[in-house]
Amino acid sequence: MSDSTANGVMLAADGTPLKRSLARALRRQKLRALMLIAPLLLFVLLTFIIPIGSMLFRSVENDIVVNTLPETVAALSSWDATTGELPDEAVYAAFTRDMVVAIAEKKHTKLGTRLNYEKTGMSSMFRQSGRKMKRLDPTEDAPFKDKLIKIHKGWGDVETWKTLQTHSGIYTSGYFLNAVDAQKTPEGIEWQSEDKQILLKLFGRTLIMSLIITGSCIALGYPVAWLLANASSRTANMLLILVLLPFWTSLLVRTSAWKVMLQQNGVINEVLVWIGLVPDADRLILINNQFGTIVAMTHILLPFMILPMYSVMQTIQPSYLRAAKSLGATNWTAFWRVYFPQSIPGIGAGSILVFILSIGYYITPEIVGGTKGVFISNRIAYHISSSLNWGLAAALGTILLIVVLALYWAYDRIVGIDNVKLG
């Protein structure tokens, strides 16, 4: 032991203590491993985690009010809304100063749009007053209270100032409350009026329809997977083409094909009328409702169910089934007690794939769903591209993500995620 000193510390060949030398070598190894995955890590971070994070952050972000009207927010904080009296002149003066700056920067209409989500009429109020308040001089034209009320009587309404005060925080729970059909009001949290309550219903419908689609995919996929796994390899390959052909066809083509099939003078109705099962006068309404969405999506997602099931069933030894039968089991008992438990990992993998894909599906419900068969994703797309209420869209997306994660967790607890096999 030439590299051991008198006090018993082991030394490496270059004289450094062995412990430190080993730690350095390990650190270098870890660093090299990190460098190897760095491109992927950076890619995932830049293209996935940061954009999604910033999108989700929009669901609580509310700095527009305090950025556009900083003085008003400060002045309003001392105002007691419960008295039912209008704020004093100081608030109006601060508001005028803020608005003149905001109008010059053309920011007041954005603020109006933001506040309109909470109280209808705010958007037009800001736009109309913007045109007239431009002419006010914040230093000379005081007092402002009566002038503002003359410009738009909304400024003489206590509710306007209450709304402004309630939504002046940097962060808000308002979008999340809107996403579950509630509303943040000066008096606390309230439900939206009946005719505006659609989002919870849509969430429920999305979940139920996704479950129905997953269930029908299991029901249709299981026999086919069994047939594929038990046929001779020549037949199985031939039949597999029938599964893969729809899988390889463009999603849009398949959805349009279902439009051709299901519409009122579509293929199915024509055939039924031709056979005489359905009178020509009242053809079945198969499209633009929930039925259309379920049928089309079952067709589109069926390969995602069949392929994992097939690859799992291929690994099940047929001799187990024969052994069970030779020990006296009936066909049904042999299937249910021996074959089915072994095929559960395939069902689990297929179900997770189909359910998670269907819960966020957009194109198919949009095309064949009409109004009754749309999903929550269609609503998210509407708020992203048409109503431009990105905060609400982000809140809906966040809730959907949480629901999926919660269901995944529940699945892990009940079935066990180790019990999922893709092959």
Partner: protein
């Protein structure tokens, strides 16, 4: 998985019934893809089978959608 010669009647019924069910599922999978092919020869712009097409009237079919698709005949695309 052929049917053994000693299979009872219910077993036979199930054996063929199961294959009929599977055939129906395969039809479900493949028809929408096949249905869309003849429509590409539609003489009209509508996305349905016209009565003429169902009567196999040659006038109801055309290659005009393929001509629209080809850059040599459609100046607007080129």
């Amino acid at each position: 998985m052929g049917l053994p010669p000693y299979a009872t009647l219910p077993q036979r019924v199930w054996y063929y019934g199961f294959r009929v069910i599977c055939a129906l599922i395969f039809i479900f999978l493949i028809t929408p893809i096949l249905v869309i092919i003849p429509l590409s020869f539609n003489a009209q712009d509508f996305f349905t089978y016209t009565p003429g097409m169902l009567r196999l009237d040659p006038d109801a079919y055309s290659l005009k959608h393929y001509q629209d698709f080809s850059p040599t005949t459609n100046g607007s695309v080129a």
